[in-house]
């Protein structure tokens, strides 16, 4: 490949263009030489700054622990569209991978099918549940993390109005929404939560329009769970901030720390992010598989307790100690079982009732 390494930004990211020598490099001399773990991304790709990237970072970290590198022992395949999931999974199976991850709930059906046909290969699905003795289902308690950023939003808001921007409506994104609203209301039931969906994870124009309309109507903190649509939310927040450096607008990122997206001049509009540690989950499941303890047939729910979800603290100026303390406090309540965070509309209604 031609030297494009200078773009190699984030710590764990492999130089993915480093490809020509991977072909010859199949005869590696590592201890785990005959263990191979691969992953199939959804259409995002391993550089989506979101959970595909995070998953890959986890796999890379696992590789580093065990002397594996891309092309020899670990690898990924990116899907160009929905119909590619199955062939991509199969591709890895046929290349004798021992463990194959399907990253994203969109791959659930495909994983279920391939797993049924290939009982000798281990599979893991992220963000969904697939039955089967050779499948580990990795789920996250996003509602717990969302609850915590909800607490942060409630403490940060001055207008007593916060917003939620979702991608496409569905069970998964509902967890974010319900958890967030529960968190906000737990701090102060009088705070209004407006939420709106963009009907797309890839429509920054709609994201920006929704954010503009929310900020315009007095919302000052927006939590987005909308993939690329969120770009528009950041764009709008930064634009307001640019026009008026004193403007009080915040964005809460999702899946990974979106601090970088919030940078504008010397300040940052990213209050915090609900971080989903797909890397930790992937790394831990891979390690278990290598160690012969693959949790096949189990549904793993990575939550606060497993460090599977968390709250980013990068923006020290905005994410104050006071907020941090409160978040920490609620975190303990969740860990202690005092608070059962709702994950659906019904649960949310019941939870709000109980407040």
């Amino acid at each position: 490949a031609c030297g494009t390494d200078e773009e190699d930004t984030t710590e764990g990211t492999e130089d993915t263009t480093d490809t020509t020598d991977t072909e010859e490099g199949t005869d590696t001399e590592t201890e785990a030489a005959d263990f191979k773990a691969g992953m199939v991304t959804d259409i995002g790709g391993v550089d989506d700054k979101s959970f595909n990237q995070s998953a890959w970072e986890g796999l890379v970290a696992f590789g580093e622990d065990n002397g594996l590198s891309k092309g020899s022992g670990i690898d990924y395949v990116q899907s160009a569209n929905d119909a590619d999931y199955l062939p991509n999974l199969n591709r890895l199976v046929q290349q004798d991978y021992n463990l194959v991850f399907g990253i994203g709930y969109l791959l659930a059906e495909a994983v279920s099918e391939v797993a049924g046909q290939n009982p000798d290969t281990n599979f893991a699905i992220v963000d969904s549940v697939v039955e089967g003795d050779n499948v580990a289902s990795i789920t996250f308690q996003e509602h717990q993390g969302s609850f915590l950023v909800g607490v942060a939003a409630a403490l940060k808001t001055e207008s007593n109005k916060v917003g939620f921007v979702g991608g496409v409506e569905g069970d998964l994104i509902k967890k974010f929404e319900a958890g967030f609203e529960a968190g906000v209301k737990s701090v102060d039931p009088s705070i209004e939560v407006v939420s709106q969906y963009a009907d797309s994870f890839g429509a920054p124009d709609k994201g920006k329009a929704i954010a503009a309309s929310m900020y315009n109507s007095g919302v000052d903190v927006i939590y987005h769970a909308s993939g690329g649509t969120g770009n528009g939310v950041f764009a709008q927040a930064k634009d307001i901030k640019n026009a008026d450096p004193d403007a009080y607008v915040w964005v809460i990122g999702v899946d990974r720390d979106q601090h970088e997206e919030g940078v504008i001049g010397d300040t940052n509009v990213t209050l915090t992010s609900m971080v989903k540690r797909v890397d930790i989950a992937v790394q831990s499941v891979s390690q278990q598989a290598l160690d012969g303890e693959f949790p096949g047939g189990e549904v793993l729910a990575f939550g606060i307790a497993e460090d599977g979800v968390g709250v980013a603290q990068t923006n020290e100026e905005a994410y104050t100690a006071e907020i941090n303390d409160a978040v920490e406090e609620w975190k303990q309540k969740i860990l202690g079982g005092e608070v059962e965070v709702p994950a659906t509309d019904d649960e949310l209604a019941a939870y709000l009732e109980s407040l």
Binding site: Q78, N90, E109, E169, G170
Partner: protein, 348 residues
């Protein structure tokens, strides 16, 4: 030596070869090995039974959307709306496939029919507006695409399921998938839909070339005024063309819903099956046989491309570039003909 017929066969072949050569040059330019790249592509499309099955599986909807676009073209209409028609056809097929119980001999045809009908309805609206009010079909079909996307998502979440992201699986009696085909191709998702697609191609050829209805459609496509003069109902033919075109695209949706997937997820973006159909149709010269061949080429390239990153380290997008160049060369067939004529003259 070079008869007209020879030209018609030679020009697309030369276009494909030129496109591949251009792709090879790009690969060389970026430091990849073009032989490895194309080997990986061929391997990824035909390397074993599984990949072969997947290739055919991908070809299936392409044939149908290609036919959809081609059919409309022949009647003088540009159907950018195949995409939306695919989506509503998919939903209709899955709807019937999940909610009804019936023996396969009834259920499967019914589900297919529902898909064709839904796609047809989606083509009917722009057809009607074009025929009655002269509204340009291009805008309407573009708008109908978005409506299809959002409306089906809404229906999946609120009507077919209780706020779920995917529908249930279609029951056995409505499924195109076949255990036999799957085991034959080491569990690819090859399904019987390819037969549906081929039958559709024959149907289109027969309808257009052999029947009075086809004569009318072609006549209207070439010259509306003369057709009206000759006693044909121009409006009716425009609507009919859009409905049949939409029906083909709707069937493409059924291929996904009853075959490849067996269910329908909510879509956060277009499937692109319909948009790719435009390229397939144009590559195939808007003729039935040509469309089938073009769909094979397209499906091969698309599925083969998936193997290029792991097989040879070449980004799969390279294939998009190759496809674009092939389309470009096909479009520029005039210059290829011209060059061939020059060659022929010099040869003499």
């Amino acid at each position: 030596m070079f008869s007209n017929r020879m030209f018609n066969i030679l020009v697309p072949i030369i276009s494909v070869v030129l496109g591949l050569i251009a792709g090879a040059i790009i690969m060389l330019g970026f430091g990849y090995n073009p032989f490895q790249g194309y080997l990986a592509l061929i391997d990824g499309a035909f390397g074993n039974a599984y990949f072969f099955g997947e290739t055919i599986r991908q070809v299936t909807p392409y044939i149908l959307t290609g036919l959809a676009v081609a059919f409309a073209f022949r009647a003088g209409l540009f159907n950018i709306g195949a995409e939306g028609q695919v989506i509503v056809g998919w939903l209709a097929a899955v709807w019937i496939g999940t909610t009804i119980e019936a023996p396969m001999i009834v259920h499967l045809p019914l589900a297919l029919f529902a898909a064709a009908l839904a796609g047809g309805m989606w083509g009917f609206v722009p057809g009607l507006l074009k025929a009655k009010l002269g509204v340009h079909e291009v805008i309407i079909t573009i708008m109908m695409n978005y409506i299809a996307l959002y409306l089906t998502n809404h229906l999946i979440r609120n009507v077919l399921t209780d706020t779920k992201d995917t529908t249930d699986r279609v029951v056995e009696s409505a499924a195109l998938s076949s255990e036999w085909l799957m085991t034959l191709t080491s569990y690819s998702r090859l399904h019987w839909g390819i037969l549906v697609a081929l039958v559709a191609a024959v149907f289109m050829w027969f309808l257009l070339e052999k029947t009075t209805a086809g004569y009318e459609l072609r006549s209207v496509g070439y010259n509306r005024h003369a057709s009206e003069y000759a006693g044909m109902k121009v409006g009716k033919n425009i609507i009919l063309a859009m409905v049949i075109s939409g029906g083909f695209a709707g069937l493409a949706g059924a291929m996904e819903g009853l075959g490849t997937f067996g269910y329908m997820p909510t879509h956060s973006a277009f499937t692109n099956i319909g948009f790719d159909g435009i390229a397939v149709a144009l590559l195939g010269g808007n003729a039935a046989l040509g469309t089938v061949i073009a769909a094979f080429l397209f499906g091969t390239l698309k599925i083969g491309a998936l193997n290029m990153p792991t097989g040879a380290g070449v980004p799969a997008e390279l294939v998009e570039i190759v496809i674009a160049l092939i389309i470009f060369f096909v479009a520029s067939s005039y210059i290829i003909r011209w060059a061939l004529l020059r060659l022929k003259k010099e040869g003499k």
